[in-house]
């Protein structure tokens, strides 16, 4: 009896209920949230690195589920995000006045639970092929939700996502052929720097960089995220890109720490830096609000990769690891809050451009406050979780003398301030045209709750660092390994 | 080299001959009905010989029945589809489109 598998099984059961009941069953979410919250708390209470195999078949045949620090924190943040986005979507996809159900209204809920289950599966398992199936679950749901916005952007996202998955699958095939196992913990023990492993790692990294929308392979993200309906783009930007990133993390730091050349890590670090600069510059240039927020995702993902080279060297590497994890969570919460708030604001003025936002602070102060709180965390200003992450990364960078990374961290924060204060200051400007203010307390409360969570986590720095420090010990728990000929 | 050893390759060659004839017909004949005619007739007979050869090769009666069932399905499928394609070709010819 363990939360590791229930955290995937429960969303899948909810998906079945959602398919059966259709949008009449959307209130099921109110039952889902407490159950998932309970499971998440139970997961967080598990001792470090507890792991157990599915069914009763030892490795290398069976599949190992494990909750290390990164998984615990990300599953917790996913639960918080998904629950609140779900509550927001209760209104967004409510059936029409005559009770008529639309295709989007029906399909959103099964896809929502599929995405939630897939993300949890992606965070909790150490089996590379199982991660492939989880990636497919998440990508399928993501593309379908993006299609609810713009079909053309969804098609482009679909083709690119497929190429990414195929690249990842090719790597898994080569790894299995070479080591007769697809389990990360077993691979960690037997990894040897031969050609097949290097090719596999390269190809898988390329695939995952596509999935995580890292610069130069990020092209599909802005149009898809900007056009999707608000809850969908919140889910996409907050959760979907993180699954790709976590698998990349596991590959580089748990499966193949031995054979990863520092030069390769620096390349990823450089990619991250370029992503931060490119994403920020593009975000500054955008005229429409949702495109701006989408490009900010590209920039924030850059920070995660920027931290890769800092994690390996001895000094301050535990702080960099904690900083990276906390940044992933801070971005998840803040970006979800920002997309929901942006959705509300744009719906009120039914426009897309930044100019349409003028004067909103007087009309919808709470939503603008939520956008502001999210902006504070994204910029890494105290007292938010974003600040804790930026501070830890900055500290690790300066401790290792990586002045370039430190500079990127600071400049990135300033550029984020530019493109985030731009819409914020417009909301203070005067307004002439009237605003149709659909006062919906649930939808207003959702981004505010996420924003407050992102900011208040700033005070729980110590707890988050302790949990994330629970790095899984190299190699599988003894009980799980069967006899291998 | 018992009788079966001689018979088996012979049947196979006859089957292949009929397949070749069918494909040749497909290439040489001009209008659709003739091509369909060549294809369905020749290929199915060819398949019959190959099936016979396979049945002999495995020798057991159960396998022979299964192979006969396979042949039967192939015949049915060929017949039905040929008829549909012929109908479509005729209507297409009348309407002058090649769809």
């Amino acid at each position: 009896m363990s939360p590791l598998d229930l955290l995937v099984a429960v969303p899948l059961a909810l998906m079945i209920a959602a398919v059966l009941l259709g949008s009449r069953g959307r209130l099921l979410l109110l039952a889902a949230i407490p159950v998932m919250a309970g499971l998440t708390v139970w997961l967080l209470l598990l001792p470090e690195g507890t792991a157990h195999i599915v069914g009763d078949w030892n490795l290398p045949l069976g599949i190992l589920l494990r909750a290390d620090g990164v998984a615990q924190l990300l599953v917790a943040a996913t639960s918080a995000c998904a629950s609140i986005i779900g509550l927001y979507a209760l209104r967004e996809f409510a059936p029409g006045p005559s009770g008529s159900e639309t295709a989007h209204g029906y399909a959103f809920w099964p896809l929502f639970y599929l995405l939630w289950g897939g993300a949890n599966a992606g965070f909790l398992t150490t089996d590379l092929f199982n991660l492939y199936v989880a990636l497919e679950m998440v990508s399928l749901a993501a593309v379908a939700m993006a299609a609810m916005g713009s079909l053309r952007a969804a098609l482009q996202y679909f083709v690119v996502a497929l190429v990414g998955s195929l690249a990842y699958l090719l790597g898994v095939a080569l790894l299995f052929a070479n080591y007769a196992t697809v389990d990360i913990t077993l691979l960690a023990g037997t990894a040897r720097p031969d050609l097949a492993t290097k090719v596999a790692l390269a190809v898988m990294t390329a695939g995952l960089l596509i999935k995580a929308a890292v610069f130069p392979l990020h092209g599909w993200l802005p149009p898809a995220h900007a056009a999707a309906p608000a809850p969908a783009s919140a889910l996409l930007s907050a959760i979907v890109v993180k699954v790709g990133f976590v698998i990349l993390l596991r590959l580089w730091f748990e499966a193949f720490p031995a054979i990863v050349a520092p030069a390769a890590l620096d390349v990823l670090g450089w990619l991250g830096a370029l992503a931060v600069l490119y994403g920020s510059i593009q975000a500054i240039r955008q005229e429409t609000l949702k495109a701006l927020v989408a490009y900010s995702t590209v920039a924030q993902i850059g920070y995660l990769l920027l931290a890769f080279p800092l994690v390996v060297t001895a000094a301050g590497s535990d702080r960099a690891w904690a900083g990276m994890t906390i940044h992933a969570i801070a971005h998840m919460l803040a970006k979800a809050a920002m997309f929901l708030a942006a959705g509300l604001m744009l719906k009120a003025v039914n426009g897309h451009r930044l100019e349409d936002l003028s004067g909103l602070v007087r009309v919808m102060p709470l939503t603008v406050a939520a956008f502001g709180l999210a902006a504070i965390s994204l910029m890494g200003l105290p007292p938010s979780a974003g600040f804790i992450a930026k501070f830890l990364l900055l500290e690790a960078a300066l401790e290792q003398g990586a002045v370039f990374q430190a500079a990127i961290l600071l400049v990135g924060g300033l550029m984020a301030a530019v493109y985030l204060f731009n819409p914020l200051s417009r909301t203070f400007a005067g307004r002439d045209t009237p605003v149709t203010e659909a006062k919906d307390t649930l939808q207003t409360a959702a981004p505010l709750a996420l924003g407050l969570l992102a900011v208040s986590l700033g005070f729980a720095g110590q707890a988050m660092v302790d949990i994330s420090a629970g790095v899984s010990q190299a190699g599988p728990p003894a009980a799980a390994v069967g006899e291998v000929p | 080299m018992t009788l079966a050893d001689y018979l088996f390759p012979a049947l196979l060659y006859i089957g292949v001959f009929f397949y070749a004839a069918g494909s040749l017909g497909l290439l040489r004949f001009q209008d659709a009905e003739l091509r369909l005619h060549a294809l369905t007739k020749a290929d199915n007979v060819g398949l019959g010989f190959v099936a016979l050869a396979a049945a002999l090769h495995w020798g057991s009666v159960a396998v022979a029945f299964k192979i006969a069932a396979v042949w039967l399905f192939a015949l049915m499928a060929a017949g039905a589809t040929a008829q549909l394609m012929a109908r479509r070709a005729k209507t297409a010819a009348e309407r002058g489109t090649d769809r």
């Binding site: 379908a144 299609a147 079909l151 497929l162 195929l166 080569l174 299995f176 052929a177 | -």
Partner: protein, 106 residues
């Protein structure tokens, strides 16, 4: 050292290269979908092909391949529906554009 057993995985590798070429050069989404299936088949050939011992074939990669094929067909089906829907929307936009161009309701 290449052996007889490497023949099928090598064709798999060839299919991966060919399929990727198709994805990059073919601009029509349906043709790209076809190319994606070719790449998928190539990858499965590599995965299954390298699991062949002298006497028997390893059932583990076979199961992975079957799972892979089913996932591939699910995604291809969704991709095809998406392509049709995009074409439909494109056509709807051309019709409305045509109506505005001619100025009268067609």
């Amino acid at each position: 050292m290449p052996t007889l057993m490497h023949l099928y995985p090598l064709t798999g590798a060839a299919l991966v290269g060919l399929g990727l070429y198709g994805i990059v050069t073919l601009r029509h989404p349906l043709r790209q979908l076809l190319a994606v299936n070719v790449v998928g088949a190539g990858i499965f050939l590599i995965l299954g092909g390298l699991g062949r011992g002298t006497a028997s074939t390893d059932p583990f990669p076979q199961a992975l391949v079957i799972t892979g094929i089913v996932v591939a067909v699910a995604l291809t089906a969704f991709g095809a529906a998406l392509v049709v829907r995009v074409a439909e929307e494109e056509r709807a936009r051309d019709d409305t554009a045509a109506v505005e161009a001619t100025g009268d309701s067609a």
